[in-house]
Symmetry: C2
Subunit: 100 residues, 2 copies
């Protein structure tokens, strides 16, 4: 994301807050612009195929991300961050074993 884009983002956010579409006080979560998917995957010691199968992703989409051809959307970036920091929780949830 360029500097100009970032400024535009901030302006959009300001407008959204003014409109009341975003609660100003809220713990507005920060989602990183870029996520190093390959490094998250390698940290777990998985191949592309296994990683994709384990977390419900399409192998081809994962490849698009790792090769920088596509950038994962915000929801996917947040998900990847959760996978990075709490992989076992994610596995348990997807396996149907509720935690928390």
């Amino acid at each position: 994301m360029s500097n100009g884009s970032r400024i535009i983002e901030s302006m959009k956010e300001a407008v959204a807050i003014a409109r009341g579409e975003i609660p100003a006080e809220s713990y507005n979560v920060h989602i990183p612009e870029r996520v190093d998917v390959a490094s998250i995957r390698r940290q777990l010691g998985l191949t592309q195929a296994s990683f994709a199968a384990s977390f419900g992703l399409s192998l081809y989409t994962l490849r698009n991300w790792e090769q920088g051809k596509r950038q994962p959307e915000p929801a996917a970036r947040a998900y990847l961050k959760v996978i990075e920091k709490a992989p076992e929780t994610v596995r348990s949830v997807l396996a149907g074993i509720a935690t928390e």
Copy 2:
């Protein structure tokens, strides 16, 4: 997803396994076809705006999902399931407070 589509999905999976693109033994995670986003959100007692802001989603995308206009992609569906079953873990991760 129609019944026909489901059969095609299975055939694609079979082909992918045959090609070695998907490890056959692997715990292939099951991601639900449909996720009731509104009910997950209400269970947490959040408005659309707060829910979106809390989990790094675009308010408009969330609305598209809840109104059935768009279907969240597999990665987003998996993410929503994790939010449903382990919301506090997700919050902690996105807040930068590592768990696990």
